[in-house]
């Protein structure tokens, strides 16, 4: 109630750059980088890049009947031999799976070839929509005549749908027997068909220090040492595949070396000639050999990352790991020996970010694309954190990398910072300054949550301390965790609706999806209602788990990953593909998750409203409430207002926050009591990507005052605009609703939005640092910020041209605001803007 400071209308660096028409938000970028950035941005929407799928298919036609891992390696080699190679002007870090300088998306017919035809048609029909992918007539022809005919019926998606028990299939895919995966009910959400595996981190450091050569030699030695007939039968093909995969990656790089050499010979530009010669020399050496310089290390990392994308579509992408750690030795040596300056290192990093920026993950099923709006990408780069010895791990390169992400108006890389109790103020200050740029980056993960989590799952401390951030808000141990299937997701909104409607879903013609838990009018007490809710929830989790088991059993018959496996200590040791996690790789951690995809707070607030209005104060009867919900509040504004103004999660009201805790506890307890056969757990977390939007579309009006079809609440945070007491109370409420008592509790996603004025100046930076410190000591897992003015977002809706480069934090990734659908834009605008006094 104080007089406000004079900083009420401040803009973030990003907003200021848009207003001023500047290309660089903060610091400087070289002309080379700016030219490449412009070229990528002006290319237009992403286009499907089909060569990978075509050569993969060609190879598969010739290898039928052989062990799958071997077929996969041979297919990779066939791709490496035949895929077009291209180097464009200004590029320093080379390698791409497409033939144009712009955004592309790979397709994976082994995953969804059967629905690819329909998917391509949907994309063609959606041309011009913000999230449409370009599919040309020529592309369509290849899909229809080459990919679809071979893969129809042989791919994972339809076989998974058919393999599901009828009830599970119905809950997820509805009653249409023709639907083999292209449409989902969103009562629960299956994501295992949208990727070969859940997000993944490769041990890039291993490739940098040993090269393909070193890995090949290890595989050859292990193959030679096999003696037991069983090993020869099962492990033999794996090591053989590993050797072929090493050859394939090396070959791919060598073709770039040759191309660069040819281009150097042709060019008249003396400077470019030198650059091309250098590229030729570097690609002749890495990734076959260990990287000797920082530049070689970056090129080797990129080849490995790119090639692993050709191997498999990993949901949430192939994450980049702890870059400030594994690049540091070569950087330090180059710096000491005068081979590089921090500015040059920044430019190389930016070249890498521009390469990453062009790769888009999209789904051939438009239903799944809805859950990942704005071309979601989570190939997170991790910086900061601790060393395996438990010391702070930040170094000079952490700062160089952090700064390299600031100049360009783009959301790449997806940067994640590990925060811990001893994160130096200097580093936290630098991180807070970057957050204040307003691009929603970096996101933060909390060692004080993550390290104990890994340890409670049987990991020793020094390994736990070396985790890398992965995907939205997860993390990985690149040599310990196994691949895992895509998650199944809970639509909490649907759980609430089924509780209110005796198991039926209004939008799906009143079909019965859940259990018959009774008409709420018959519930004598709030506990009756709560118990019905729990029964519906348990049923949904059960079906999610059935899905996971089905997928886990099926995936090794359809999918392999020799490259990812050969770079994994345990897979290599045991000669097992990472996809065989269902059979348990000894010492491996299979941390499959079941996600709450939206509506966690919607449910808390709905339960609280029912308790408060119907049972505690008796202001409403069930008849009145159910009638208002059925009518979607039409003519029932007073009742809706009562519901809107009932106590809400996120305001420090203990009994309301406790409902959240009980939901979490219940879900985790079920998971805890139903472990996988080898004793490992299903992990429960609350993470929406953008699924809270499509999940909301199928959910009727809810007792928290939300109208039918509107987005559900996002992640672990309170419902949009309902937490009104500022960020400290919001965080405290979230901490209270978080259940830590089971090892099954994994990271929840926490979004926070603030106007730039609240963190203005040096004082504001310090305030943000204090907020982050308190967040860390409260043991939250994750947080990310949108530091933008609401007015800018509203302007951007009206003037998309002016704001085409405006980056916003969506979920575990950032995206261009104009690439989002209107309803997703509205959802971001509606998020609570935290106020400070």
């Amino acid at each position: 109630m104080n007089m406000a400071t004079e900083t009420a209308q401040l803009l973030s660096a990003q907003e200021q750059a848009i207003v001023d028409g500047k290309k660089v938000l903060h610091g400087t970028a070289t002309d080379r980088v700016l030219r490449m950035f412009d070229a990528i941005r002006s290319y237009g929407p992403p286009r499907v890049a089909l060569e990978r799928a075509v050569y993969f298919t060609e190879s598969f036609k010739t290898s039928e009947g052989q062990p799958l891992v071997l077929r996969w390696a041979k297919a990779l080699k066939h791709i490496a031999e035949n895929i077009s190679v291209a180097i464009f002007d200004d590029e320093l870090i080379v390698g791409r799976p497409n033939t144009w300088f712009g955004r592309y998306t790979l397709v994976f017919p082994e995953l969804d070839g059967s629905i690819m035809k329909a998917g391509a048609e949907a994309f063609i029909a959606a041309k011009g929509a913000p999230d449409a992918v370009t599919v040309t007539e020529e592309d369509k022809k290849i899909i229809d005549e080459v990919l679809f005919p071979y893969w129809n019926g042989k791919d994972f998606t339809p076989n998974f749908v058919k393999a599901l028990p009828p009830e599970s299939r119905h809950m997820n895919f509805g009653s249409d027997p023709e639907n083999i995966g292209i449409k989902q009910t969103f009562v629960i959400v299956n994501t295992s068909t949208m990727r070969h595996s859940q997000n993944w981190v490769i041990d890039f450091g291993k490739m940098l220090t040993r090269g393909c050569k070193g890995m090949r030699e290890e595989a050859q030695a292990r193959l030679a040492a096999l003696e037991h007939p069983r090993d020869l039968a099962f492990k033999g093909p794996f090591y053989e595949a590993a050797i072929i995969a090493c050859d394939a990656l090396s070959l791919f790089a060598k073709r770039y070396s040759e191309l660069a050499g040819q281009m150097a010979a042709r060019t008249k530009d003396a400077r470019r000639k030198m650059e091309l010669e250098e590229i030729a020399a570097i690609c002749a050496w890495v990734p076959e050999n260990p990287a000797r310089t920082f530049r070689e290390a970056i090129q080797s990392q990129w080849f490995t990352q790119l090639f692993s994308r050709l191997e498999e579509m990993v949901g949430g992408d192939i994450n980049s790991g702890r870059m400030d750690q594994y690049f540091y030795p070569t950087y330090k040596r180059d710096l000491e020996e005068g081979r590089i300056t921090p500015e040059e290192a920044q430019e190389l990093f930016q070249c890498l970010w521009l390469n990453v920026m062009q790769c888009i993950q999209s789904q051939m099923s438009p239903a799944l694309a809805k859950g990942r709006e704005g071309f979601s990408h989570h190939e997170t780069v991790t910086i900061g954190g601790q060393t395996p010895e438990g010391l702070d791990a930040t170094n000079e390169l952490s700062y160089v990398l952090l700064e390299s992400t600031r100049p360009l108006p783009c959301s790449y890389p997806e940067l994640g910072v590990r925060i811990h109790a001893n994160t130096p103020d200097k580093f936290l200050h630098a991180v807070a300054e970057v957050i204040k740029d307003g691009k929603g980056s970096p996101k933060l993960l909390n060692d004080e949550f993550m390290v104990p989590w890994f340890m409670s799952n049987g990991i020793v401390m020094k390994e736990a301390l070396d985790y890398a951030i992965s995907g939205c808000s997860e993390s990985r141990l690149p040599n310990r965790e196994t691949h895992k299937t895509g998650n199944s997701g809970i639509n909490y909104g649907a759980v609430m609706e089924m509780t209110l409607r005796d198991g039926r879903m209004k939008i799906h013609n009143d079909e019965l999806f859940g259990l018959k838990t009774g008409d709420p009018r018959t519930f004598k007490t709030y506990d009756d209602f709560w118990n019905a809710f729990k029964m519906q929830l348990e049923n949904v989790i059960r079906h999610c788990m059935i899905q996971v088991y089905t997928a886990v059993a099926l995936k090794p018959r359809y999918i392999a990953a020799p490259l990812a496996s050969l770079l994994h200590d345990l897979a290599m040791e045991h000669g097992r593909d990472l996809h065989t996690h269902g059979d348990y790789i000894p010492g491996g951690l299979d941390a499959a998750c079941i996600d709450g995809l939206g509506g966690f707070a919607t449910c808390i607030d709905s339960l609280a409203a029912v308790k408060h209005l119907i049972y505690d104060t008796k202001k409403l009867t069930w008849d009145q409430l159910l009638d208002a919900l059925e009518k979607n509040w039409e003519g029932k504004e007073a009742i809706r207002q009562m519901c809107l103004n009932a106590p809400k999660y996120g305001n420090g009201i203990e009994w309301v926050d406790a409902i959240g805790y009980e939901i979490q506890r219940f879900v985790m307890e079920y998971a805890h009591n139903h472990p996988k056969p080898h004793g490992q757990s299903f992990n429960m977390r609350i993470i929406p990507i953008t699924f809270h939007n499509p999940c909301g579309k199928v959910t009727m009006a809810t007792p928290n005052g939300r109208p039918a079809g509107e987005f559900l609440s996002d992640g672990i945070v309170p419902s949009h605009g309902c937490d009104t007491k500022g960020p400290t109370v919001t965080l405290q409420s979230i901490a209270r609703a978080t259940c830590h008592i089971y090892k099954e509790h994994r990271e929840d996603l926490l979004n926070m939005k603030m106007a730039p004025a609240n963190v203005a100046g040096e004082e504001g930076t310090r305030r943000l640092m204090q907020l982050i410190r308190a967040w860390s000591s409260q043991k939250h897992a994750h947080i990310q910020f949108n530091i933008l003015n609401k007015q800018s977002l509203l302007d951007a809706q009206k003037n998309p041209e002016k704001y085409r480069d405006l980056v916003v934090r969506v979920a575990g990734y950032c995206a261009y605001f104009v690439d989002l659908s209107p309803s997703q834009q509205a959802e971001i605008i509606a998020r609570t803007e935290e106020q400070m006094g």
């Binding site: 104080n2 004079e6 504004e637 007073a638 500022g726 400290t728 405290q732 004082e763 204090q770 308190a774």
Partner: protein
């Protein structure tokens, strides 16, 4: 407002609001408790709901959804029949009106209003109840060196409650600050200040006549209180503040006179200028009051910069970027 859950022995205060994550009311991240009641009547007051030391009904017509949709407050709720609607169900504006002359601020209409268009400013709370809410922010104080600030109104008017609240906060390890205009009997200050780490006090005007004209009382008692406080509590930090209002006190003379007043005392560690912003008008309407002076403007950045340079010079420090 009901007192039923309040033990009779515990002192209670009339609390207007508890605001979290405040960053301009003392060191670090703070929680600010606003107490109701004020002993000045500044013409530019932007918090009219804080003036009277009694609960007050407020009505926000923008939240009201009208008699046809709702009308709960019109159904035999108000014992004085102070609530009415002019429109009939078919007319566009059937929003409720308040006859302020009849309203006794009993608050009976508040719980029936589903939209919170009708609210009551001022709630009786015990020390424990206040601190329970304040301590939600505990981990943020630790990280930021923050704590609790009690403001108003004039928080010193509720001296007994305030002293109890601050003493208990200290006992729980919470850093304390108050915001005051100091226009109270010295006894009140003497009772409270032993429990305060930082006193943020206003010096609105230096000339007694002008102070009386703009703030409704002259500043003789304020100046005497402050001098005595500086001397009696040498270990307490004081920060002087001026709400800068163009045409009232945005002149160098006022700044220099204030500096002359505070500079002899080492425990007055800073002098802050708070630019006036017009935020309070809507709230006057909600209370059925007329906003008397509507033509105050905010000071220009140049004026603030010039005045702050004088302060920085007096404190012997480089001009701070703000």
């Amino acid at each position: 407002m009901s007192n039923q859950h309040v033990s009779t022995r515990a002192p209670t205060g009339l609390v207007l609001n508890i605001q979290h994550f405040c960053t301009h009311d003392g060191p670090g991240i703070r929680t600010t408790v606003f107490l109701k009641g004020c002993s000045l009547r500044c013409k530019w007051c932007s918090n009219p709901e804080s003036i009277h030391l009694k609960p007050e009904l407020a009505y926000n017509p923008r939240k009201c959804i009208g008699e046809k949709e709702c009308g709960f407050c019109l159904k035999d709720v108000c014992p004085e029949s102070a609530l009415y609607a002019v429109g009939s169900g078919d007319r566009p504006d059937d929003k409720v009106r308040v006859n302020w002359d009849l309203c006794t601020n009993c608050g009976r209409c508040v719980p029936v209003c589903p939209t919170h268009a009708l609210t009551l400013f001022g709630q009786e709370m015990t020390v424990d109840q206040v601190l329970e809410e304040v301590e939600q922010d505990g981990s943020f104080y630790r990280e930021s060196g923050g704590g609790m600030t009690v403001s108003g109104g004039e928080c010193l008017l509720q001296a007994d409650f305030l002293a109890a609240l601050l003493a208990e906060a200290h006992r729980r390890g919470i850093n304390t600050a108050i915001e005051t205009a100091s226009n109270v009997p010295w006894d009140f200050m003497a009772k409270v200040l032993p429990h305060v780490d930082t006193v943020l006090h206003d010096i609105k005007l230096t000339d007694p006549e002008r102070h009386k004209r703009w703030c409704g009382a002259d500043n003789t008692r304020i100046r005497a209180n402050l001098k005595r406080a500086y001397e009696t509590f040498p270990d307490t930090k004081f920060i002087a503040r001026t709400p800068v209002i163009p045409g009232v006190n945005d002149d160098e003379e006022h700044i220099r006179a204030t500096l002359a007043f505070i500079k002899p005392y080492k425990n007055v560690i800073d002098y802050e200028l708070l630019p006036y912003h017009r935020f309070g008008e809507g709230k006057y309407e909600f209370l059925g009051a007329v906003y008397e002076m509507q033509d105050f403007t905010s000071p220009s950045p140049e004026t603030l910069k010039r005045l702050r340079e004088i302060i920085d010079e007096a404190f012997g420090r480089p001009t701070q970027a703000r």
